[in-house]
């Protein structure tokens, strides 16, 4: 299984994501610089990592979403290529229009950095099939702009279509419907604020994020 991780100026979870992907797939991901205009060929998954791309200038993820490499990602996502965006990666994917809604400043204005209790809201996605729907998991969050908002019509649609994959058990950042992660309508793009790559091996003291990577390997190895 061949994967790639994008690297923007200000990304700081790119190597963590690469380690988690290498551990899950047995193959080291290609690291792709933001100025590149093309992705490596034959990719099974594109990872958009956490961090503070372009210093969060203008809006979190706004500049990265317009970078040269993201044009290639948008094209590939449109063809059904799986894309995983974590934290700043989630912000980039909403700014790029690959996911609905927007991630605003946390409602209480504070940077939140702690373990968050989540419930798996839908395990019928390629990102969550190794979990059970309703499973309680704990994954770390670390963000200032994780307050997911969308208009009422969009919220009703994503809820109705089962696009919400992870939900906070209690208020973490003010997100509408406590949404922590969601997929696009066709199910090949996932964005989530919590960091599964920080809870993926014994040394982390928590491996609740591991099943996300196992889900992808399961789905993509049989594809």
């Amino acid at each position: 299984m061949k994967t790639a991780v994008l690297v923007f100026p200000g990304s700081n979870c790119d190597r963590d994501l690469a380690v988690a992907l290498e551990r899950a797939t047995g193959r080291r991901p290609e690291m792709v610089w933001h100025r590149d205009t093309a992705l490596p060929s034959g990719l099974d998954l594109i990872g958009v990592p956490g961090g503070f791309s372009y210093g969060d200038y203008l809006r979190s993820g706004a500049m990265a979403a317009r970078s040269p490499i993201m044009q290639a990602v948008i094209e590939e996502a449109g063809k059904g290529r799986p894309v995983l965006g974590i934290c700043n990666g989630f912000q980039v994917l909403t700014e790029a229009g690959l996911l609905p809604g927007a991630l605003m400043r946390n409602a209480n204005l504070t940077f939140v950095c702690r373990d968050a209790d989540l419930t798996v809201a839908n395990n019928r996605t390629m990102f969550s099939s190794a979990y059970a729907t309703g499973e309680a998991i704990r994954i770390p969050v670390a963000h200032h702009d994780g307050n997911f908002q969308a208009d009422a019509e969009t919220l009703a649609r994503i809820e109705g279509e089962g696009q919400v994959v992870f939900r906070y058990d209690c208020t973490v950042n003010g997100s509408a419907k406590d949404i922590a992660g969601l997929v696009n309508a066709s199910g090949n793009v996932l964005g989530m604020m919590p960091h599964p790559e920080r809870a993926a091996e014994p040394a982390h003291g928590n491996q609740d994020g591991r099943k996300l990577f196992d889900s992808l390997v399961g789905a993509l190895a049989t594809a």
Binding site: L58, T94, P100, A102, M104, A107, Q149, G174
Partner: protein, 77 residues
């Protein structure tokens, strides 16, 4: 030519920063402030003759996130 782009949150979108500023104003004893909304002002120096459509395109593609924000363009001549 200079143009100003005012980016504001759409009505109804919760504005935590505006709320915090409102509370701070109340804390300082300013009475009669009913609501505060915070936005952004972006000043552009563009070629003379740049038309509104071009600036609008900049707003839609980058300067504003139209999922949550409105924008207004002011020409300064």
């Amino acid at each position: 030519m200079k143009a100003r782009v005012l980016v504001t949150l759409k009505p109804g979108v919760l504005d935590p920063q505006g709320k915090a500023i409102h509370h701070a104003l109340e804390g300082l004893g300013f009475a009669g402030v009913n609501d505060v909304r915070a936005g952004k002002l972006i000043e552009l120096d563009v070629d003379d003759g740049t038309d509104d459509a071009a600036i609008e395109d900049m707003c839609r593609k980058l300067l504003a996130n139209t999922v949550i924000e409105n924008f207004k363009i002011e020409r300064l001549g």
